[in-house]
């Protein structure tokens, strides 16, 4: 799919315009919702101060994604291979999503100190879940006729995984990954709630305490940009990994849809 930047940019402009006008006319004070012009001014004008923080957060996000993938993929495979394992683990995975950070923060402090590790872990806890669930559902959706074929070819589980289940579940995996990278931003910020000395999340708390709401929103702007970049990276990766779909869009089987 070709992506045009003009439409979203246009919408953004219109929305920003309404917001700007609204915030000037409504009398909603800047420290509750700063006008976009102000946010942009801070986000761009103070980029030299913001960027180092953004860099730290980006590292946490990427490490969180990597850790989440390293957990989610084997976990989904294991639960798919052994439904009893899924049965046994699912409650704990679901429960893991119900734990708010601040309950974990003291534990993290005690176990991991204040380094990068605790932030990466927090981000990963949030990211791994959609990936695991989607991937598992993808594995499960595999057509049983193909499973039989692979069994008849003498394929063991790993061969079937590599050549059948994995490619079959790819669109599910990417759906999960899209969700994962989008929530990764907030995962890292939440991780920075405790023990951080830098990073956009830290900056946001600090700015919030100092009533610098414009800075809070400038940080959000940068976070959103990172989220978008990750989102598009996943989109690119998806098109790359499933390029066979593009190759076969115009076929006598598929036809072109007008």
């Amino acid at each position: 799919m070709k992506r045009s930047w003009t439409i979203p940019a246009g919408i953004l402009l219109v929305m920003a315009g309404i917001w700007e006008a609204g915030s000037r006319l409504s009398g909603l004070p800047d420290f509750i919702l700063p006008p976009p012009s102000r946010i942009l001014q801070v986000a761009v004008g103070h980029a030299p101060q913001l960027l180092p923080h953004a860099g730290i957060t980006l590292v946490e996000i990427l490490a969180g994604i990597a850790l989440a993938l390293a957990v989610a993929v084997p976990l989904a495979v294991a639960m798919f291979a052994r439904p009893s394992l899924e049965n046994a683990l699912a409650p704990f995975l679901v429960a893991s999503q119900a734990i708010p950070v601040f309950a974990l923060a003291p534990l993290l402090v005690v176990w991991m100190g204040y380094g990068l590790a605790s932030k990466v872990l927090m981000a990963a806890v949030i990211i791994f879940f959609p990936i695991t669930v989607s991937l598992l559902e993808g594995f499960r959706s595999c057509d049983p006729a193909y499973r039989v074929l692979f069994r008849l070819m003498g394929a063991d589980f790993w061969q079937t995984l590599r050549r059948l289940y994995w490619p079959w579940a790819l669109p599910y995996f990417f759906a999960g990954l899209r969700v994962g990278v989008s929530v990764a931003t907030i995962g890292a910020v939440i991780g920075e709630w405790v023990g951080a000395q830098q990073g956009l999340g830290y900056l946001m708390i600090q700015s919030n305490a100092r009533l610098k709401t414009d800075w809070v929103f400038a940080a959000i702007l940068w976070l959103s940009l990172m989220g978008l970049a990750l989102w598009h990276t996943v989109g690119w990766l998806e098109r790359h990994c499933m390029s066979w779909k593009d190759r076969s869009t115009q076929t006598s089987q598929g036809g072109s849809i007008r």
């Binding site: 008849l152 070819m153 066979w244 076969s248 006598s252």
Partner: protein, 245 residues
């Protein structure tokens, strides 16, 4: 020798395969013919262990086996090509899974593709080729199993007369030169008569063997052969009268 005894199967109450016996001699070519929906594909699935059977036993070369999943190559009725692999990669799949290096299996696939008229389409995805080409690719994949026993479920149904003729010759070659034992389902009586050493006529469900005919006509056969014409009429009559309606 493949000896199948008293295989039965029912789906939610209604029997589909009922007490079928079958003996396929080593290096034999047995063809099954029967009305649509009579249970042929189900029978093959039972033999391959893709479906559990209610009763029955299988012996291969004297030894009892639970099923033929490790012994036979099976071409299912639908092509089941992987949509994300090119035709050659699809055909190479059994070799890949067996761990054969591409260098070795590649040559075999290429020769098969030349023989099957798929040369030049190695890299095409299944969705980019015709129905008949997909079927030929599935046949190529089946032959890449490299097993002594071959089960074919309507392998040539989507092919035109000429291509079909050529592939029938290839199947004969498989039997004579490569010493395979072949069990095949077809709806084309001419095809059955041209290829079979033994022809089984099946009943509507629950599937049973109505008639067993040994064809001693020597190869190469031709449909003008009066012996074959006679058998053809007998088979047609049999299938006709079996029809309930």
């Amino acid at each position: 020798m493949l000896i199948i005894e008293a295989i039965s199967k029912h789906f939610s109450g209604s029997p589909v395969v009922s007490d079928v016996d079958l003996t396929v001699p080593e290096n034999g070519f047995t063809v099954m013919i029967g009305p649509s929906g009579c249970g042929k594909s189900t029978f093959f699935d039972l033999l391959m262990g893709a479906l559990p059977m209610d009763a029955g036993s299988i012996r291969w070369r004297g030894a009892a086996v639970p099923d033929l999943s490790r012994l036979a190559a099976y071409m299912q009725q639908s092509d089941l090509l992987l949509p994300w692999l090119g035709l050659a990669d699809n055909a190479r799949l059994p070799a890949d899974i067996a761990g054969d290096p591409v260098a070795r299996s590649g040559g075999r696939v290429q020769r098969l593709f030349d023989r099957l008229g798929l040369a030049g389409f190695e890299a095409h995805l299944p969705s980019m080729v015709s129905g008949g080409m997909r079927q030929r690719c599935a046949l190529a994949r089946t032959l890449m199993f490299g097993r002594d026993l071959v089960l074919l479920d309507e392998p040539l149904s989507a092919l035109d007369a000429i291509t079909r003729r050529s592939l029938q010759q290839m199947l004969r070659l498989l039997q004579t030169d490569f010493k395979k034992t072949i069990l095949m389902v077809t709806h084309d009586i001419d095809e059955a008569l041209l290829l079979a050493d033994e022809l089984l006529v099946l009943s509507p469900p629950p599937m049973q063997v109505t008639a067993r005919m040994a064809l001693q006509v020597p190869q190469p056969r031709c449909m003008e052969n009066p012996q074959l014409v006679a058998i053809k009429h007998r088979v047609l009559a049999m299938l006709q009268e079996e029809r309930p309606s």
